[in-house]
């Protein structure tokens, strides 16, 4: 008799806990910090600097979300995840949002029960080779030894590419980027393949970057984006529209420098006013303060600023905007309107 009462009590208490867990937004507010899953260390995208402060493209997105939700861009707990652990960390609720250059694929969106909230970087898988190898196309790589960073979609793309072109290769799976570089530079593999952005970031760290080229073939589409758990649509909306706010801010010319002024004195452009909360009730619609977008932009700037600061052409990584330019400049970034 007593046992069943005990079990019942356990069931009830855990059911209550389950109900409470559903609303991520309330959890984050109650906790006072945002738990953001990031990469363990990839220059430009997410890595702690010498002082232990996380910096990078994905990291800045986390700060923007924290600023939008909590008003404080520093209220983020960065949780490093590997390719293996990232999805479980998100599914189990250990992290609220995963911003870890993760490719948006069908099965991840549906079978793994996640929601990709957009694309913050359009990428594709490329090959890095030493110039001395004399290879100009990925199709010349018949019989080559290829270093791959495991735990990503790269293994699958690679298998598909070589199979489609009916050429052979020898895969060398490597756990971390640093070790892959070591193998590649020592000549233990002929080529290193991962997302082209990662290749550029990697190449920038070399002693003589000029001796290495990224081959022109991009063998896959890699739309990288932040993701949240499936089912909590309110939280998904917040994550999605924070990203859109950053993109729209660049389109409308709102920067971290002028966002305070623009929010202080409503201008003539109604969309800017709506975005910054001086007009309309957009913030309330997603359960946030009216100045949520202002905070998000003030955190580390608009999309363009984040890009330039972390991976842009003036950084060691030196990636051109390319596909990641605004649609007005011939790129693919096209945020839905704020109205």
């Amino acid at each position: 008799m007593k046992k069943s009462v005990f079990l019942g009590a356990l069931t009830v208490s855990s059911l209550l806990a389950g109900a409470a867990a559903a609303a991520t937004l309330d959890d984050v507010k109650a906790r006072g910090t945002l738990n953001c899953g990031v990469v363990t260390g990839l220059a430009g995208f997410g890595a702690p600097d010498a002082n232990g402060r996380w910096e990078g493209f994905d990291v800045s997105y986390c700060r923007a979300v924290a600023a939008a939700v909590l008003g404080d861009p520093e209220a983020v707990e960065f949780i490093p995840t590997t390719g293996k652990t990232r999805f479980t960390a998100l599914a189990s609720g250990e992290i609220d949002v995963l911003a870890r250059n993760t490719t948006w694929t069908f099965s991840r969106d549906t079978d793994l029960k996640f929601d990709f909230i957009g694309v913050n970087y359009y990428d594709g898988q490329g090959f890095l080779v030493p110039k001395g190898l004399g290879v100009t196309s990925a199709k010349d790589l018949d019989g080559a030894t290829v270093c791959i960073q495991t735990g990503t979609t790269t293994e699958l793309n690679l298998a598909d590419f070589f199979r489609a072109n009916n050429i052979s290769y020898e895969p060398v799976p490597i756990e971390t980027n640093a070790e892959a570089i070591q193998q590649y530079l020592a000549g233990a593999c002929d080529t290193y393949t991962t997302d082209a952005s990662g290749l550029a970031a990697t190449r920038a760290t070399f002693e003589a970057p000029g001796d290495h080229v990224v081959l022109p073939e991009i063998i896959s589409k890699e739309p990288l984006g932040p993701l949240v758990r499936h089912g909590d649509n309110e939280w998904g909306d917040i994550a999605r529209w924070t990203l859109n706010a950053l993109i729209t801010a660049e389109e409308l010319g709102i920067t971290s420098a002028n966002v305070a002024d623009m929010a202080g004195t409503p201008g003539t452009n109604p969309e800017i006013n709506r975005l910054l909360g001086t007009e309309g009730e957009l913030g309330a619609m997603i359960g946030l303060e009216s100045d949520w977008a202002k905070n998000a932009i003030a955190a580390s700037g608009n999309y363009g600023e984040i890009f330039e600061k972390n991976i842009g052409e003036n950084t060691p990584i030196g990636i051109a905007r390319g596909l990641n330019a605004q649609w007005t400049n011939g790129g693919l970034l096209y945020a839905p309107p704020f109205r």
Binding site: K3, F6, L7, L10, T11, S14, G18, G83, K84, F87, T88, A91, S92, R108, D111, L112, K113, G132, L133, L141, D142, G143, A144, T145, T150, G151, T152, E155, L156, L158, A159, D160, F162, R163, Y169, E170, P171, V172, P173, I174, E175, E179, Q182, Q183, A186, G187, A188, C189, D190, R229, H230, G231
Partner: protein
Amino acid sequence: MSTLTDPQQGSFRLSMLLSDTRYRSYTFQFIALVALIVAMAFLGLNLVRNLAAQGLDISYDFLSSASGYDINQRPIEYDSQSTHLRAAVVGILNTLIVAVLACVTATIIGVFAGVMRLSNNWLVRKIMAVYVEAFRNVPVLIWILIIFSIMTVSLPAPSAFRGETPTSTMFLDTVAFTNRGVYIPAPVMGPGAWIVILTFVASILGIFALRKYAMKTLFDTGRIVPTFWPSVALFFLPTLLVHFILGRPIGLEYPELRGFNFQDGIQIRGSLIALWFALAIYTGAFIAENVRAGIQAISKGQTEAAGALGLRPNRIMSLVILPQALRVIIPPLVSQYLNITKNSSLAIAVGYMDVTGTLGGITLNQTGRAIESVLLLMLFYLVISLSISTIMNIYNNSVKLKER
């Protein structure tokens, strides 16, 4: 008094469950069982509820779908269209390969170092002591990473073998040491090769027969039949003779640099070598200590007694000391073998595709089936461990000192 020893029959009270030793054990066991069931039910219930909340289920269907990724070291046929199950089997075979190689090598290194630590040469003794202490006291993961780095950085890339004046050449034109691995010649079976192999098997059997015969003569007549040189001769001569008479049916295919890599021959990959050597050297240090302890456990009186019987030093070692020492050495040796098998799961650090790398690595990543993959992984290691322990228990019982 009588009430203490003989409680009244038929008057069972509830408090006796705690106070009466006859019932108390049942109470405790019942409590333990209930606690276990409650704990299990709690965990299981949580699992079901969590999975339901996330819309997931437990299913092993993913094992029969195409894996989509390639594996470099394939003991059995495998390509990216094969199933996840086959990928897991490839991983299991790779685990077994590295474990067996490392066990053999670790034993050789360990016995050598253990005997050398007892050498009367001071320098050798000290060097071996440094080796043992250095490897025993540093995590094996660090050694794996260090040896992998040494391999990668200090050996030449295949491109060093290319060109008019290559900076590296193949060892004896047959073996190429590169940082992608070591390329050795592969045997090619021509017609009649099986006769050669059969001859070889037959001569191995012959060696055993000879030893048995020698032992029997020794026990029956006391005459010592020489076995060492006849064994060596038996090992090589018939096989080589048949091989040449049949016109060399087993040929060698030499590795050759074509394109980016050495082709033909057998490639022993760098990741395999790094893992193999790291495990062998690390575990060898532990085995050395076991061997040393085993030899030292045999009391000095045994050596002196054997000497008093007029045995020569090498016979004292092989006939008196080692058989007794082995009884002490083998149980810890087997647990070191178990450790090697378990530590081989660190293959993931150097990209060797063992079962942790395929089933617990890429398959887990690609399918997101964490619970299923990890369960299968644990099951595999458990089966290996339990079978080795069973064999060891049988051995232990067979060598146990018969006490009367």
